[in-house]
Amino acid sequence: MNNALRYLFFAGPVRFLVLLVLGLNVRRRDKLPVDGPAIIVANHNSHLDTLTLLSLMPLSSLHKVRPVAALDYFMRNKWLAWFATRIIGILPVDRSGGSNPLAKSKAALAEGSVLVLYPEGTRGEPEKLAEFKRGVALLVKENSGVPVVPVLMHGLGKALPKGTRLIVPFICDIFIGDPVPWKGDTKVFMSDLRGAIEALAAEAHFPAWE
């Protein structure tokens, strides 16, 4: 029942919104991992980011994809919590430092999930890349065989930036890069990861957005 709702949601309204209303320009879609264990690392500007990434997945791998999201934000009321965990399929993590957020992600990877991580931590300033948090490196350190695929998204922060509810259509660019290898050092990995996403951003000339 719940899975059916989830498929219907992604097959119907999400694809309608993402493909018809917004429109995507995806580069190297074949590099997107559809089977776990794998980690997708993307920049984060909009609530549409997760919907869009999930819409790129074949419906058959939908159940494997777990966007890692803040427990305090998405579990703040019953309905949102139901929607976030049952329809979107988020992996809620506690960012206040209670339970260990890494343990949950590790367990999900062990089950063969595709984790979606936003190392900026929050949506932040529209269309600007904020400081990366180290959590992703700590996770990769303990799961060093798992491919970490960088993804750059542009345009969704214009279509639905933080603080608004009105979706204004813009075409969205999604560039997928080669997996970022773990070289044994957290700092090196973080700078490689950031470098990979910045290199994707440099592929196109994005118009100014003030």
Partner: protein, 315 residues
């Protein structure tokens, strides 16, 4: 057979035959690609393949049912406007104005669908022209105001107002064109515009030497333009009397207008792309680029032909 299908679809039989001949041209193009070798000409192969898709989508959507055609043509404007807004620099504060610009599409196409020429002609150039700067002024941000008003209004005119003339022709043309109706007029306009694009490109490739606008569109040459112009005029003289109430002389004039306006629309779009520093406006159509790259010539040719034809031939 073709008459029975035409009758069933309520499409003038001449238009059916015209669409059928486009498929003959496409088949010939595909044979040429096969002869040249698909691997050696991947760009050309992708382009021809996309033509098959575009012709089919256009023919099915436009000639099957009136309401479907209205929605389809409005959707083309929507795609073009979205591509334009995604290409230009914009201000976050103007999201509401951008949203209002999108909302004008169904309204404009409703006026085209119901053939209300007065409202169709003034809705965007007058009412939207006043509404957009109003919303943006009320937004309260003056830095970059004039530039934003200018780019948004221009984009709306270029993608919605100009292209909606296709719908106006289709829905108002039946009374003016007893020969083949609004569908015949639309076919005449769109086919000749697209044909002219290909003809100018081909003549330019074969004989192009003298550049017309080296800084805007370096591949455009006098040889290409004039070759395309003459070819389009000749073709117009043949199909005009068959699809429209124009005799061969009027059809030649119409062909010249379409070819020239198409060329000018093309370089106007090229100037915008160069200004924005992009090669293509989008990546929607393999081998062609974005939708704006395919319909740039129509943005000028559609209003130019419509107003020419309306002035001389509407009752």
């Amino acid at each position: 057979m073709i008459e029975r299908i035409a009758d069933y679809l309520e499409v003038p039989v001449d238009v059916m035959a015209a669409v059928a001949s486009v498929y003959v041209i496409l088949a010939a193009a595909s044979l040429i690609v096969l002869a040249l070798g698909r691997e050696r000409q991947p760009e050309l192969a992708a382009r021809v393949k996309s033509w098959w898709v575009m012709v089919t989508v256009f023919a099915v959507a436009v000639f099957i049912n009136q309401a479907v055609s209205a929605v389809f043509l409005a959707f083309i404007s929507y795609l073009a406007l979205k591509e334009f807004f995604s290409m230009i620099p914009s201000r976050r504060i103007d999201r509401l104005a951008v949203f209002a610009a999108y909302l004008s599409i169904p309204v404009q196409y409703w006026f085209a669908y119901t053939a209300q020429f007065g409202l169709f002609s003034v809705f965007i150039p007058v009412w939207m022209f006043l509404l957009l700067p109003t919303i943006m002024a009320l937004g309260g941000e003056t830095g970059g105001y004039l530039k934003s008003v200018g780019t948004l209004s221009w984009g709306l005119m270029m993608t919605v107002f100009t292209l909606s003339h296709m719908a106006y022709l289709l829905f108002s043309g039946d009374t003016a064109n007893v020969v083949a109706g609004g569908a015949g007029l639309l076919f005449f306009l769109v086919f000749l515009t697209q044909f002219n694009d290909v003809a100018q490109f081909t003549w330019g490739k074969l004989f192009g030497k003298r550049k017309i606008t080296p800084t805007v569109s370096p591949k455009k040459t006098w040889e290409g333009f004039i070759g395309g112009l003459v070819t389009t005029i000749v073709l117009a003289m043949f199909i005009g009397p068959w699809l429209t109430p124009m005799d061969w002389q009027w059809s030649a004039v119409a062909g010249a207008i379409i070819a020239t306006a198409g060329f000018l629309g093309d370089i106007a779009e090229s100037a915008v792309k160069r200004d924005m520093g992009v090669k293509d406006a989008g990546a929607l159509i393999p081998g062609h680029g974005g939708i704006l790259d395919r319909i740039d010539s129509l943005t000028f040719a559609a209003p130019a032909f419509t107003h020419f034809f309306r002035y001389f031939f509407y009752p």
